[in-house]
């Protein structure tokens, strides 16, 4: 079902639930993986994904159709991730690298994570990046999004995003070479 059709059906009370169910089915995987790569743990990603869709449901009536639906949902998911990570840092009074270390440990110990050594190293290298730069890298490298779309989601200029991505790649390569 096209986004336009979903939105039309959502605006009618009798087809609202059906339309929203379609929306969740359409975007759940993209949103879940976007969140999972940021928070690492499945249970956290599961909670946040549900929270994102609850927020989408609450605000979909006010959604302005001049933006694309999926970039809007991505933006909600991105904000949820950043808030979650920020709260984690505040809650445990930990400096940034300690949260990174905690998440890095999860890569080794959590169930539902498996890959060869170099892939695991890549994920650990990613955790050493600042949260926003990690988001940029994930959206460009894994989700293969255009810079314009990332710019719409993060509210950052295309030029700044390009710089941020190239720096991220450099840092990751350096980290893996030195490890």
């Amino acid at each position: 079902m096209e986004d336009k059709e979903i939105l039309e059906k959502f605006s009618q009370p009798e087809s609202q639930n059906m339309a929203f169910n379609q929306l969740v089915r359409k975007y759940q995987q993209k949103i879940y993986w976007h969140i999972r790569k940021m928070v690492i743990n499945h249970d956290d990603a599961d909670d946040l994904t549900q929270e994102v869709f609850v927020k989408v449901w609450k605000n979909l009536g006010n959604f302005r159709q001049d933006a694309q639906l999926y970039t809007w949902i991505y933006r909600i998911a991105t904000n949820e991730c950043l808030t979650f990570l920020s709260n984690k840092k505040k809650r445990f009074f930990l400096p940034i690298h300690d949260v990174a270390a905690e998440l890095s440990e999860k890569i080794d110990t959590s169930p539902g994570i498996s890959g060869d050594e170099i892939q695991l190293k890549l994920q650990k290298a990613l955790l050493r990046l600042p949260d926003k730069q990690r988001l940029v890298f994930n959206m460009k490298y894994y989700d293969e999004m255009k810079y314009e779309e990332i710019s719409e989601i993060l509210g950052t200029s295309v030029g700044a995003l390009k710089t941020s991505y190239h720096l991220a790649v450099k840092k990751i390569e350096e980290f893996i070479k030195l490890d």
């Binding site: 089915r25 879940y32 499945h42 609850v54 539902g112 890549l122 994920q123 894994y142 070479k177 490890d179």
Partner: protein, 147 residues
């Protein structure tokens, strides 16, 4: 491995997702989300209902107070109007006659006149000239001496 790491280039690494989800997770997720949205809707309704009940409880005494204050001022206003309209039908001459022939008037009553302000007891209201008033007082005084 060390050698491989030294030549490492991200573009040469095949993209691979190392994370997995429990079996059937994406089949169950829409239903779980729908349950939460239904819960959120019910909660939203009860929050609105609860808020309205609290507003009513807070506003009720205020409304009651306003009604009492309004009723009090309305009664006061009505009372003033009644006093005025009770006196109005009396002809001015009747009032003058009453004051003229009323023998119960005492000097103390007249002495109180000095305390009345001009606004309370105007010359128009009495409808007698200062000269007539003086003559009346003199006559009253003579009558009391004779008695």
């Amino acid at each position: 491995m060390k050698k491989m790491n030294e030549d490492f280039k991200l573009e040469n690494l095949p993209k691979h997702n190392i994370y997995q989800v429990p079996e059937g997770y994406f089949d169950r997720l829409p239903m779980r989300v729908m349950e939460r949205t239904a819960g959120a809707r019910a909660q939203e309704t009860s929050v609105h209902a609860g808020l309205w009940a609290q507003v009513r409880m807070a506003v009720a005494p205020l409304v009651l107070l306003l009604v009492f204050v309004g009723a009090f001022f309305f009664t006061q206003q009505q009372q003033k109007q009644n006093d005025y309209s009770t006196l109005q039908p009396l002809a001015e001459n009747d009032i003058i006659d009453y004051l003229h022939y009323n023998e119960d008037l005492e000097t103390a009553d007249l002495a109180e006149l000095s305390y009345l302000t001009k606004h309370e007891f105007t010359e128009d209201f009495l409808n007698i000239s200062p000269k007539v008033a003086e003559e009346e007082l003199e006559y009253y005084h003579i009558r009391h001496i004779e008695e």
